[in-house]
Every structure is written in C-alpha cells, then in structure tokens.
Amino acid sequence: MKIAVMQFPGTNCEFETLLAVKTVGMDGELFRWNRPEGELSGFDGFIIPGGFSYQDRLRAGVIASKEPVMNTLKEEAGKGKPIIGICNGFQILVETGLLPGSVNGSGCGKVDMALAQNVMVSQGKIVRRGYYCDWVNLRHEAPSKRCSGSFTIERGALLRVPIAHGEGNLVTTTPGLVEKLNEEGQVVFRYCDKNGRVINEFPFNVNGSTESIAAICNEQGNVLGMMPHPERAFFAWQLPAFDPRKQRPDEPGPGRRVFESMKRYIEVNA
C-alpha cells in the first residue's frame, strides 16, 4: 500500500504527512511535481499536503493546479484511488476541479467553488480578516465509510485539529451546490465549538466559510479536501498545552484517524 505525498515548490507539511502515512502502516514517498507524471499510477493513494505552493501567487493553489501531475491525479481519482488534500492541497483540488468533482469522478476541470480570503464575522461585523492559525474543533458530518479520509470515523465525532491559512472561506455561485453537498453527504467536517455545536460565526467559524464547512469530498467519496491539518495533530504530544491528552504523549492524536481511514479505505476497496 503505497502513498505518494505530493511536493510542489512551497509545500511545507510533506515530511509530517509522510511520517503520519508510515506510522499508520502504509508505505509512502515524496513525489516532486516535476517527476514524470506517469509514475503516479504505481501508487495506491495520494496526499497533497499543506503549505504555500508557488507562494500562493495569483491565488492559493491555482498555479499548482495547472501542473501536468494534476491531470494524472484526475485520472487516478477516476479509478477510485483516494486523494486527500490538506489546506493548500484542498485549494489545489478545488482549482483543479476535482472537488466538488464531476459525476464520473474523473474531474471535468470545471471549477465549481472557491476558497476565498478569510473574512471573520461576529455579530454582523467583520472582526478580522486574512491569515489565521488556531486549534479548531471539527464535527464529522458524513456517515462513516462515506469518504476515504474519514472512513473509520463515526458521524458526529469531534476532532481537535489546527488550522493555518489565509484563504479557506468556501464560497460558490453554483446554484444548489451547497444543498447538494449536504444532501449527498459530501460535507465531511464542519467547524464547531468544543461541544459539537455549529455556530456560524467567529471564533467558531474561523474563516467565514459557508455553513462552517471545513472539509468536503467528491460524489464518489474517494477525494477529500480539508482545510485543517490532521498531520499536525497526529501524536498526542502535538496537542496544545490546554488539552489534557498532551500529558499522555504515547496516545494517538485526533488527526491520526484521517490517515487510518485512508488505509482502511484502500484495504476495503483493493
């Protein structure tokens, strides 16, 4: 079970992501953007990590989305292989058209949404904007087994994971898209408070995202994009000081479940 952790110029979480992949028992390697894209077909799954590919020039993720490796990833997605995009990886998948994705899962290249600049709103006022990093609470919205990156996570489960981005505000002008995402179980995670209540304003909705959406998958469920960073909460010792689990460093962190899910998804679909 071999995972390609994609590396574009400006990617900055590839080593943590690769460690997470290997720690849950998968094999993996970094795959630089300028390697022959045909070599991607030898992998069982793909992760596009976070960072600032091409320094976020023009807008986050768009330059990387035009690289030849992304065309190959579209083909691999069409075969049902799992792809997880984290933060900048999510932005790249959106700009590629892989998320929310087309009917047959191969991605038609049509961009159906944007991850726009953060605008934090509280009580009707913009209280903050731009880059923001913090620990957030996520509520798993999809049924288990709906999505490759949350395959083993039960609906309603809460995860504490960090975010760090300037453009995570999910917006769309596509009529009915958000309703469809909700109806089809494609909304995978929402930002929430520590009790799991979704409160659609800052500081709970950390970037102004429509309906507090933090992660979505494509129709087939094999492609997941999420703004929070599970690889930064993979081990309990990575958790913030105020989290009691930090005192139990041998325990797994909440982000580990995303990588375990990917592994299980591949085992079940092999």
Binding site: L58, K66, M113, A116, Q117, V171
Partner: protein, 159 residues
C-alpha cells in the same frame, strides 16, 4: 459632488507573481504562440466627497505606495491605459475585506473623513503578439482560464 481618485501602482523591482503567471500561461496553458509578456499593477479607486483630489491623491499615495519599491500614477475621474497591451481588471465580487480595511484606516485612523468608498483591483497587462481584436479575445481566454475564479472574482477588459 464626489470624485474618484484612481491610483495605479506597480513594482519597480521584478514582479515574481507576474512572471509566474506568464510562465504558467506559456508553459502550461498553450499561450506561447500569442503571448509576449505579462505585467501587473494594483489599482486603488478612492471615492471622496470633498477636498482637492490632487492633494488628496498625494496623501493617499504616501499611505498606500511604498516608493522604495513601487511607482504610481494618479488619474482623477478617469482610468486610462497605454497602447500596446490589453489591460484586464480583476476584482472580487464577494466582500473585499482589504478594501474595507483601507477605507476604515483612511477614515478613522488617518482622518480622511471625506473618503466615501475604496475599491481595490489588480490590473493584468497582457502583451500579445497579435493585434486587437484578436488580442482581446485571447485576453478573455487568459482571464477565464487562469486569472479569475468566477466564484469570487470578476474581470473586465479595459478598452
């Protein structure tokens, strides 16, 4: 009567973002045969309801332009561009938090209470090997294939 002060601002040093856009258009999106160069400007359109617009423009430029690395020109109630390229104006159609922040900074912190509104955009200057109107058709293609995400941006080909 309100007046609009347009500040066109560009880097004096090499613009890495414009270079990346040019590179992507040529190497990845097939514009190598028609595209000669890409340059970029920032555009601030500041609406004021009183005061001498030329004097106000000087004050605004002190706040919005870093003369160590940027140049600018001021245009009052008009927005003109040179010959030789197709200017494409890209702006957010969703709420522009940065423009709102600039307006509030000018009004509340710097005392320019005559500032009514601030709008911000990017002007992409596309130099084509072909002439108009073909160049403008290509500019539309460039805008829709790369420069904008229609879910948050709009574009306008400036004549």
């Amino acid at each position: 009567m309100s007046q609009k002060i347009n500040l066109r601002v560009w880097l004096k040093i090499p613009d890495a973002e414009a270079a990346t856009v040019k590179n992507t258009l040529i190497r990845r999106l097939g514009f190598g045969n028609v595209l000669a160069d890409v340059k970029k400007e920032r555009l601030f359109s500041i609406e004021v309801d009183s005061g001498d617009p030329q004097e106000l423009a000087k004050s605004f430029a002190k706040e919005l332009v870093n003369e160590n690395k940027e140049s600018h020109i001021v245009l009052i109630d008009e927005l003109l561009f040179e010959e030789g390229y197709v200017p494409v104006k890209v702006a957010l159609h969703i709420e522009d938090g940065e423009a709102i922040s600039i307006r509030e900074r000018l009004r509340s912190r710097l005392g320019f209470e005559n500032v009514v509104d601030v709008k911000k955009a990017t002007i992409w200057k596309l130099f084509f090997k072909t002439l108009k109107p073909e160049a403008e058709i290509k500019a539309i293609e460039v805008a829709e294939k790369l420069l904008i995400n229609p879910h948050k941006d709009t574009y306008e080909i400036m004549g």
